[in-house]
């Protein structure tokens, strides 16, 4: 199996070579150009002539990893990742190590190394990419094990439903949740997931009614499920039954005092009823707890505005503006915009 090491190493290699010996340099260039046989020979020569040549040792291990000789590469990759004083080399070794562990089926260790990499290089796109891949592999492995060892379990249907949801196949997801409920009618969270899948699959009034029944069934199993209370509130609100909805939003907030969506829903309804004395402290608490919550700032801005506190309203507007317009190029903005009109919507 050919590993994707070269692309990661290319950009970093040349500056590091300024102080390197010429055989090492030739070996690294050969590695970058994909001439692995030549790279392996040159870098092995370099290591033989100077076993302390850190660049040569690292790139020899990378070459071995890239050509599928992970077993031979891994001791050096582990050593360089753990001990190298050169931050760039340690990063390269760590990335290659994660790939090798994955290739050898040791997903658990790959997850461990990926976690260490993330801790040391938290903003590194290559590291985050490898971490995402390895976690995905871990998820796949665990899923296969579950399907293999407990095929009749309700958990198989539950997980199938969740996977269908990620694929926007909400009808299929709902069918799986129904099977899971049939197998284990007392299991928590199944009715909730079913209710959500129904809502995501259809916008009809009938779907709202069906989903409401599922959330109510979830509450019958767990009367303290704040999320189910909230969902019922949202359905009633969408049906124009705002007074009843308010009761459920309040209940959700009572069950989970830090539930921001519930607090915002209660606050907004209070603002519409001109109950500013109750609404504003509630909304202020949400903003204090979640200073990056745009909805919270907007709701508070409207509450201040409607109650005549224009200066405070303008401050909230400014906070909202900052959140909605992060500095150009900020990655969070990119992610946020990716989310707009994305398949999940």
């Amino acid at each position: 199996m050919m590993l994707d090491i070269r692309a990661i190493a290319t950009l970093l290699a040349l500056p590091m070579l300024l102080a390197a010996a010429s055989v090492t340099e030739q070996g690294v260039i050969a590695f970058q150009q994909g001439r692995y046989v030549e790279a392996g020979r040159l870098l092995a020569d370099a290591v033989r002539s100077d076993p302390r040549d850190e660049h040569a040792r690292t790139f020899l291990a990378l070459t071995r990893a890239a050509t599928g000789y992970c077993t031979e590469a891994m001791p050096d990759l582990t050593d360089r990742f753990q001990k190298s004083g050169n931050r760039d080399l340690a990063r390269l070794a760590g990335l290659a190590l994660v790939q090798c562990l994955g290739a050898q089926g040791d997903t658990a260790q790959a997850v461990t190394i990926a976690g260490q990499l993330e801790a040391r290089y938290p903003d590194d796109a290559d590291v985050l990419y490898e971490a995402a891949r390895v976690h995905m592999r871990a998820f796949n492995d665990a899923t296969h094990r579950m399907f293999d060892k407990t095929p009749a379990s309700y958990r198989v249907n539950q997980l199938s439903g969740e996977i269908f949801e990620t694929q926007n196949k909400f009808a299929e997801a709902a069918a799986e949740y129904r099977k899971a409920i049939e197998k284990n009618p007392r299991a928590l969270n199944l009715h909730f997931r079913l209710g959500r899948a129904i809502l995501l699959e259809s916008h009809s009034p009938e779907a709202l009614a069906k989903a409401q029944k599922e959330f109510e069934a979830e509450l019958a199993l767990n009367a303290e499920d704040a999320a189910a209370e909230f969902q019922i509130g949202q359905i009633l609100d969408a049906c124009g039954r705002r007074d009843e909805a308010l009761g459920h939003f309040r209940k959700a907030l009572e069950l989970s005092p830090d539930f921001p969506e519930a607090a915002l829903a209660v606050g907004r309804i209070q603002v519409q009823a001109k109950q500013y004395a109750e609404a504003i402290p509630l909304l202020e608490r949400v903003v204090a707890r979640e200073p990056r919550n745009e909805t919270a700032h907007y709701s508070l801005m409207m509450a201040y505005r409607n109650s005549g506190q224009m200066e405070k309203a303008r401050l909230e507007q400014e906070e909202l503006r900052k959140l909605q317009h992060p500095p150009e190029g900020e990655f969070t903005d990119f992610l946020k915009r990716l989310g707009e009109k994305a398949p999940q919507q």
Partner: protein, 542 residues
């Protein structure tokens, strides 16, 4: 007590009369030509999705509404003359209106105050101003009027308005984005080119923004681009579509509200000195109640709850709510969508929309036409469709609406991928008709199978000191203890033009106690004890 009686009377009227029963009479009326607008199974570019508007306009002043329908590339815009016998005759060629290109929006107004209503048509490409020459033909005066654009623009909604009160209609033109076939990425080529996992045409996200335009009418047949000077061009970061010009804060000056696709809406407050200040966020009309920007397509405004203040409804994308904003009278709005019972129709992509009193109850209902932007969505077998039915809401008279789409006649349930919509009374019988532009189909013309039960008035306003079309004139009608307010608008809905006359349902009142007009000039006219069920012409005192 009178208000209570009026409400009770309206409720009784509604309870005893059958509901509306809309039928599509377009084909039998002569609207048989199809209007191309890009692909029907797939759309490669965003230009194919936005579609085109329609207009009800009485171009020859014979007192009967004619029909103007815009076309996408591959067809021509068409004007149909109303023969007063239920037929519309295609008079496009003889009026000089044969055209080509991607027509988007239309707005009407008498920009030269000669007594004949002119037309402005927006394009991806060069907009066109058509001067109405005595109701006999239209002359393309774009270049003469200094409205030639220096580059290709994706112009969308438009509205005539007299923002400086000089009696000459100025012109606002919304711009969607910067688009050209050569540089726009292909379907599926980046994250902005997917919908529900399917590769689809790219945009609007990922495509460059453009700015809106404001032209000042110099009164000599020419316009001057004042977009920069007026502050209109300062607002960037919007994919603007529909526009409506109206006085939102009661200061007698027209303001401008523009909805944007996937971007916040803009509200330009007229400062009275030739400039505008963009204040949509603080005034509560930029976002939904969560502070989230939606994909605004169309908009309409009305005194829907009888408080004398003009609220706004905007039509939005699927998986979003179309929003109703209540106006506090000072131009501050609250999103009352949920409280008004408008929160449940989230499966449609909504376009042309209009408040209309279809039963003459004195309370304006609401019609919305729909249709998804991606024909590919039909492959998903979900409840979102490229061609879909319309939505009709009845106004309960209590600030809420009831969805009566399923029992309002076959026309409402017929599936089209509609865009533009306009309302008007084609036969002056007091019962409103609805006109819609359907992508790659003939337009729909919906008529009720029986007259609306209540009494009514249709008001034709003629400005003298004010602009001749009386655009911006605000009318207050009191009848049977119920007071309604409306304003003469150019543009609105989705890139479309409603009848410039104002229609008022009066419920069981056979007479209006008073009709008060506040003209754009500031002058006021009051008529008292006016008999209902007729067209009334009101001219401003010279």
């Amino acid at each position: 007590m009178r208000l209570l009686w009026a409400t009770l009377a309206a409720a009784l009227l509604a309870a005893t009369q059958p509901g509306p029963d809309f039928h599509d009479i377009g084909k039998e009326a002569g609207l048989t030509a199809s209007f191309p607008n890009g692909g029907d199974k797939t759309k490669a570019y965003i230009i194919e999705t936005t579609g085109s508007g329609v207009a009800f306009i009485d171009y020859d002043n014979d007192g009967y509404l004619d029909i103007f329908v815009l076309s996408g590339d591959g067809g021509t815009n068409r004007m149909y003359h109303n023969d007063r016998n239920g037929h519309f005759i295609d008079v496009t060629a003889e009026l000089g209106l044969t055209s080509s290109g991607w027509a988007e929006g239309v707005c009407a107004g008498d920009y030269d105050n000669d007594g004949y209503t002119d037309l402005f048509v927006t394009y991806w490409g060069q907009n066109r101003l058509y001067r109405n020459v005595s109701g006999k033909r239209f002359e393309d005066v774009t270049a003469k009027a200094h409205l030639t654009e220096d580059r290709v623009r994706y112009n969308t909604g438009c509205a005539f308005l007299d923002y400086d009160g000089d009696g000459h209609l100025d012109l606002f033109v919304a711009n969607y984005l910067k688009f050209d076939f050569a540089t726009t990425p292909k379907a599926g080529s980046n994250p902005y080119c997917f919908y529900r996992g399917m590769p689809v045409n790219c945009g609007p996200r990922g495509l460059p923004f453009d700015t809106n335009l404001l032209y000042h009418n110099k009164g000599d047949g020419t316009f001057e681009d004042v977009s920069e000077r007026s502050g209109i061009a300062k607002a960037n970061g919007h994919y603007s579509l529909a526009v409506i010009a109206q006085d939102v804060n009661g200061d007698g000056r027209p303001d401008i509200y523009v909805v944007g696709d996937q971007t916040p809406a803009s509200l330009f407050i007229n400062q009275g000195d030739g400039t505008f200040s963009e204040e949509a966020v603080m005034r509560g009309v930029a976002f939904d109640e969560n502070g989230r920007e939606l994909s605004g397509m169309g908009l309409t405004s009305a005194d829907y709850n009888g408080d004398g203040r003009i609220g706004i409804f905007r039509s939005d994308f699927s998986d979003e709510r179309s929003l109703l904003y209540r106006n506090d009278g000072a131009g501050q709005f609250d999103d009352v969508t949920m409280a008004a019972g408008l929160g449940h129709n989230t499966r449609f992509v909504n376009w042309g929309c209009a408040f209309l009193d279809f039963d003459n109850s004195g309370w304006k209902g609401l019609v919305v036409v729909t249709g998804h932007v991606y024909p590919e969505v039909d492959r998903q077998n979900i409840d979102i469709h490229f061609r879909d039915r319309a939505i009709l809401y009845r106004n309960t008279g209590k600030g809420t609406f009831e969805d009566i789409s399923e029992r309002a006649g076959p026309a409402i349930l017929a599936r089209h991928s509609a865009r533009g919509l306009a309302i008007g009374d084609i036969d002056n019988d007091g019962t409103l008709e609805i006109l819609a532009n359907n992508q790659n189909e003939p337009p729909s013309l919906w008529k009720q199978s029986r007259p609306a039960p209540g009494h009514w008035l249709l008001l034709t306003l003629i400005g003298t000191r004010s602009n001749r079309s009386a655009i911006g004139a605000r009318v207050t009608v009191s009848a049977g203890g119920h007071t309604q307010v409306d304003e003469v608008h150019s543009g609105g809905s989705y890139l479309s033009q409603n009848d410039l006359r104002l229609h008022f349902g009066l419920g069981s009142a056979a007479r209006a106690d008073s009709i008060a007009v506040r003209w754009p000039s500031g002058q006021k006219t009051v008529l008292r004890d006016v008999a209902a069920d007729r067209v009334v012409t009101i001219a401003e005192q010279p």
